[in-house]
């Protein structure tokens, strides 16, 4: 019997699911090996039985907590996909404001009908077997992860930085062009796509393990970035990781 694969979406733009749909050529080959039973972007009916669950989006309401727990109880393997699910992502900016303020801004007079919670990563609520990073995920990593899970090959998180990939691509560093970038402490895996096309990395794949925040803050401050600009760099995608410490660190290291 083919393993059953399911896709679930929580608070997100569903861009990661689209990346999977964009795998036009490979999708047919994948379908030879698996059965896709739940995929909101592609099929209508909802299945209750699956082996591997790919979960997109961050968890932001009481209902979502229940739903994601239900997924965990049914799936053999849960893979969190994308910055929202793995990091909180852009959604995590919500946590920098009082909850009532956010709710009233969004839902206005209907606010009381929509219970809301501070943003959580999928991994904060349930056990996750692998985190596939990125905003959005890359097709390459989705294929690699799917193939590895099907073959039972252990998955290993990428440990090198975006700079490693950027230098390998032979790019002119953005710092040489008077711009800035946090690729040095960001987890690789996207082939440094932003710097390759001339934009600084914003950290959507999360930080490498044991990131040197102090060193990175110092580098950005030396290039003339103000405290709010530095804070924005660190919180764009990674707000949850740094929410408690970033202000103190910036105060300490930026004169």
């Amino acid at each position: 019997m083919k393993p059953k694969l399911a896709m679930f979406s929580f608070t997100s733009c569903e861009g990661c699911q689209l990346q999977i749909l964009n795998l036009e050529d490979e999708l047919l080959s994948i379908l030879n090996a698996v059965e896709i039973v739940n995929f909101r972007e592609a099929i209508d009916e909802k299945a209750q039985d699956y082996d591997i669950a790919f979960v997109e989006g961050s968890i932001t309401t009481p209902e979502e907590i229940e739903e994601v727990k239900d997924i965990r109880s049914k799936a053999k393997l849960v893979v969190a996909i994308g910055a929202c699910a793995c990091l909180g992502g852009v959604n995590a900016m919500k946590n920098f404001f009082p909850l009532d303020f956010v709710r009233n801004e969004v839902y206005k007079e209907k606010a009381s009908c929509f219970p809301t919670l501070p943003v959580q990563r999928v991994g904060d609520v349930i056990k996750v077997d692998y985190e596939m990073h990125g905003c959005p995920i890359t097709k390459k990593e989705f294929l690699h992860v799917t193939k590895s899970l099907l073959l039972g090959i252990p998955l290993k998180q990428i440990h090198y930085s975006i700079c490693t990939e950027c230098k390998t691509a032979g790019n002119v560093c953005l710092f040489d062009k008077g711009e800035t970038c946090i690729g040095a402490i960001t987890r690789g895996g996207c082939d440094a796509i932003c710097p390759t096309f001339g934009d600084g990395c914003e950290g959507c794949r999360g930080f490498v393990d044991e990131p040197n925040f102090e060193g990175m803050i110092q580098v950005l401050a030396d290039r003339g970035l103000t405290k709010p600009e530095i804070k924005n760099k660190f919180t764009y995608f990674n707000g949850l990781d740094v929410i408690e410490t970033i202000n103190d660190k910036i105060e300490e290291f930026v004169k």
């Binding site: 490979e26 080959s29 994948i30 030879n32 090996a33 294929l143 690699h144 193939k147 590895s148 099907l150 073959l151 090959i153 440990h159 090198y160 930085s161 700079c163 490693t164 950027c166 230098k167 390998t168 032979g170 790019n171 002119v172 560093c173 710092f175 040489d176 062009k177 690729g183 040095a184 402490i185 490498v208 393990d209 044991e210 990131p211 040197n212 102090e214 060193g215 990175m216 110092q218 580098v219 030396d222």
Partner: protein, 345 residues
Amino acid sequence: MKIYFLPKDKVKLLVESVLDEFQVFGAKAKEMKFEFGKIDTAAELRLDYNTTILPPVKTFFPNDEKILEFKPNGQTTSVHENSKKVLFGVHPCDIHAIEMMDNIFSTPPEDKHYLERRKDSIIIGINCNTPCSDKILCYDKGTYKADSGFDLMFWDNGESYLVEVVTSLGNFLASKFSYFFNFFTEYSGDFHEFKSEYHKRQDFVFEKKLTRKISELPEAMRQSYESELWHEVGAKCLSCGSCNIVCPTCYCFDVKDVVDIDLAGGHRCRNWDSCQNLDFACVGSGENFREKSSQRNRHRVFKKEVYLPQNKGYSGCVGCGRCNTACIAGISLIDIYNNVFSEEV
């Protein structure tokens, strides 16, 4: 050894003719910098470049290189590439680096993938009239000139180049394209004088960056093993890996298997690795032998200036300065070496 005379306005024609017969690799503009890569038109090739982002030696050691194919029945095939290449316009430091990599990859067990790519390649060197930046150590290390490791060497002679031909491959190329070269001189005496004048002019514009002689470095390094210096460097370092990736003498790689989408066959490839990455010295049991950034930084420098001199008799750094330029945290071997020198009692 033969010396030819080549007017500069003939270089383009020469490059065009070489391009007709060989794959040519050389420096070409990339935004406000230069990259070393495949040359498609003679106009692209720049001999007046300062330095390239990635070094010429990577032509023989490309990233993501497919080294093996495997089939569902267990059959494996080693993959090699061995087209004839001309590397046109390699600076002396990079020539030293290629010589070093030749030695590393030909030390048993031989690395066939590198050696096959390298085998029939012709290296055309070009000397540096002026220092390419203020971040280099080639003058301290003596690598701003090369006596071997090339087939031809271009020497700037104002309106012309003198082309020194030293190997049979060089002779092969020069005689093949003899149409472009006017015979310069049969007298080696003249050329020796030319060379010494050339180097005198270099002495005028190149400067030493180190406070002491490079030969004293390995011992001074050894003394610095427990120094506070490594903690200071470690605190600044972002473990980004850039310094390794751009280095012409870093040869570490990681190997991974890529399975085909049909989950049957696939291939094995190797990717450049960096000893500054957190998990570089992590072994199967999960233990990490260099878990601190200070240890990893110390290792990079010790590998180049202590371990390789000790095991191989040469330094693992040719002083090209690429790592110093690439480091956004401002970590520079020049500062590290001078600090090591000043600390030693």
